[in-house]
């Protein structure tokens, strides 16, 4: 482009114009309607969700524990953690279960750098989960001031504690319940088993960058 008069066409304008020319579309044309999304109903007895979730998580070498009520969580975790140092998220359910009161557990972070340092050195990260998916054994984590991302990511072990009522059938049911995840969070992550790779000779190895061990602690009765 030469001379001061030459119009400066931005990459954006150029690309959109190229697309419209190639497709023969006018700039303001709204698309023909698209068929409604295909969301499949899990078609399953809700009472089976918990056993299906456990089965699918354990197929991926995760491990699930079922405890009757919140009061049973802390003693169970005490035995699981032994003398390992853990970081817990600010999820209210963890406090309600007494997790944050355990001697090994650091919690209540409000400073990004302090949280990061703690996660980088802790042996275990403890979070809740906003949902879980029975069909795939997945944990669904929505980032928020209560639920930081690094806790389920940096420590070599991840423990998620959540009530049974949060288990949904499948991804379709999740997306039916949250049609617009972006309205609620900057980051929704589905965690389906421990971190893994098969990049060297197709040999399965767990715990590459994320946790190599994933535990779900499912609480049957939400209120004690």
């Amino acid at each position: 482009m030469v001379g001061p008069e030459a119009a400066v066409v931005t990459a954006r304008e150029q690309i959109l114009a190229d697309i419209r020319t190639a497709l023969g579309r006018a700039g303001n044309a709204t698309p023909a309607p698209l068929a409604p999304p295909m969301l499949r109903n899990p078609q399953m007895d809700r009472n089976l969700y918990i056993s299906l979730f456990v089965q699918n998580l354990e197929k991926l070498a995760g491990k699930a524990f079922i405890v009757p009520n919140p009061a049973a969580v802390a003693p169970m975790l005490q035995a699981l953690l032994k003398d390992q140092r853990a970081v817990a998220s600010n999820a209210p359910f963890l406090a309600a279960c007494g997790v944050t009161g355990l001697a090994q557990v650091e919690s209540g972070f409000t400073e990004p750098e302090a949280l990061r340092q703690a996660c980088a050195t802790a042996g275990v990260g403890i979070t809740s989960a906003d949902y879980a998916l029975a069909a795939t054994g997945s944990l669904v984590m929505l980032a928020s001031p209560q639920e930081a991302r690094l806790i389920s990511l940096l420590p070599p072990v991840h423990v998620a504690v959540f009530p049974k009522s949060r288990i949904l059938g499948n991804l379709d049911e999740l997306l039916a319940r949250i049609p617009q995840p972006a309205e609620q969070t900057s980051s929704m992550v589905l965690i389906t088993g421990p971190s893994r790779t098969a990049d060297i000779e197709q040999i399965l190895i767990r715990g590459v960058h994320g946790p190599g061990e994933v535990y779900a602690v499912i609480v049957e009765e939400e209120n004690s």
Partner: protein, 464 residues
């Protein structure tokens, strides 16, 4: 030789170790996929494919609309969309931002789009350290190689290759156990994640109604790249957009199963904008680079624009008898296998990589397994006739010269010829047989490829 395959094909075919590595890795991926899409495991499989195809067709036919919708939703959540026409535009943007923010270290998670534009090389020229963090990609970066496969990038390397490479480049003691090699990589890369200023990722999907980037992965390196550094930049081709978050129910159910047989990969991240008020981690800045780099050229032809539906699952590579024989590095571009054969000549021009559409036995396996139902064999045929047209247009003898070059090259590489002829004998054959080339080749009396290749027939005859 321009426009014909490289001598590497013969080397690949003659290397028994490499042949075994390609064969067993692709076989395993084939088996895993078959187990995950069978009618018992996924009764809706065919309906899902049809839906995925319809959604892609609709989106590509209204691409400008969905890109603008995506852009305004990214902005609504505090992120920014940057349109780039070329790879140079991408590196200029990233370099400019890095300079402004005084960034020195970039961590990257696997992205074919950045491979496509030689992102790392461009940035390294400006003293910006860029580290690949997917284990396979990390190994390849140390070895200065490009991905061998779009899903399993280092499938051609053995643990012994990795051991030697790590000793040479990282100065660690020789370690041949993949488990321990992974630990070495984890420790080295962990430091990089925590020290990085910018995380660069690709995108498996861009969700228009949410302004979100969706990433699927198994290792956790994409999560780390998007959670630890202060800046997240996703680089994606413009074709990656889908209309609605709810459409992910279809695409995610197909992608993992088609790629590795997983109903869902270990991590599926749905990222919309920088961290919000009160969040303790996540990036402060969120950018999505929308790259054209020739994609708009593929839109014009209503049939060929299907090539842009690809979700990069790799299933067509695993099922392709040609890919399984010649491997990934003998294709001229980062995209190999059947999908590479149809998009490379469209991006680079048919006279440049004209031999590619002929490197197929048209057995149809790719179309059968493609989760978004791209009619790959049909597009290959279409491109073949375009190649011959283009060669004819190059002047008298252009077609003949091209066909002769392909033919002459193959004749001087008998092993390659034999291997490919055997593949080709089932159907339309490797060598140019359509259009004017068909009559040309028959005049030259090529060994028959119809039912049994001449060489094989001869060998059998001599044995009996």
């Amino acid at each position: 030789m321009q426009g014909t395959p490289t001598g590497g094909i013969q080397q690949t075919i003659g290397d028994p170790r490499l042949q075994l590595a390609i064969y067993s890795a692709t076989r395993r991926l084939i088996e895993h996929r078959a187990g995950a899409v069978g009618s018992e495991r996924l009764p809706d499989y065919q309906e899902l494919r049809t839906r995925a195809n319809q959604i892609k067709q609709h989106t590509i036919e209204h691409l400008d609309h969905y890109l603008e919708q995506f852009e305004s939703n990214v902005a609504a959540h505090g992120g920014k969309v940057v349109y780039c026409r070329t790879g140079e535009d991408v590196s200029d943007f990233v370099l400019g931002l890095a300079k402004e923010r005084k960034a020195h270290l970039i961590v990257k998670s696997k992205s074919m789009t950045t491979e496509e534009v030689h992102f790392n090389e461009r940035l390294e020229r400006h003293q910006l350290e860029t580290v690949e963090t997917d284990l396979g990609e990390y190994i390849l970066q140390l070895a200065h190689e490009r991905p061998y496969h779009i899903v399993a990038p280092a499938l051609h390397m053995t643990r012994y290759d990795v051991a030697e490479l790590f000793t040479k480049t990282l100065g660690v003691a020789k370690e041949v156990e993949p488990e321990k090699q992974t630990k070495i990589a984890r420790a080295t890369l962990r430091e990089k994640f925590l020290g990085a200023d910018i995380g660069v990722t690709g995108a498996n999907f861009l969700v228009a109604d949410s302004g979100a980037v969706v990433l699927v992965e198994n290792e956790g390196n994409a999560r780390l790249s998007t959670s630890a550094p202060k800046i997240h930049i996703a680089v994606a081709g413009i074709e990656k957009v889908i209309p609605r978050a709810q459409d992910l129910a279809v695409f995610l159910d197909l992608l993992g199963r088609s790629a590795t047989g997983q109903p869902l990969t270990v991590y599926t991240s749905f990222l919309s904008g920088p961290r919000r008020a009160g969040e303790l981690d996540g990036p402060d800045e969120f950018y999505v680079v929308l790259l054209d780099n020739g994609r708009t050229k593929l839109l014009k032809d209503p049939e060929k624009r299907q090539s842009l539906y690809c979700i990069r699952c790799g299933a067509c590579l695993n099922h392709c008898p040609v890919y399984r024989k010649i491997g990934g590095h003998n294709y001229p571009w980062v995209y190999s296998g059947p999908i590479g054969a149809i998009i490379t000549p469209q991006f680079h021009g048919v006279s440049e990589d004209g031999w590619l559409p002929f490197a197929s036995s048209l057995c149809g396996a790719c179309a059968e397994v493609c989760p978004v139902k791209i009619e790959i064999p049909k597009l290959l045929l279409k491109l073949r006739s375009e190649v011959t047209e283009a060669k004819r247009a190059q002047g008298s003898g252009g077609v003949e010269r091209f066909a002769f070059r392909v033919w002459a090259w193959l004749m001087t590489h008998p092993k390659t010829y034999l291997a490919l002829a055997r593949l080709g004998s089932k159907s339309a054959g490797l060598l140019p047989k359509v259009g004017p080339l068909g009559s040309w080749t028959s005049q030259r009396e090529l060994p028959p490829m119809a039912s049994q290749s001449f060489h094989r027939w001869w060998a059998q005859r001599r044995r009996s």
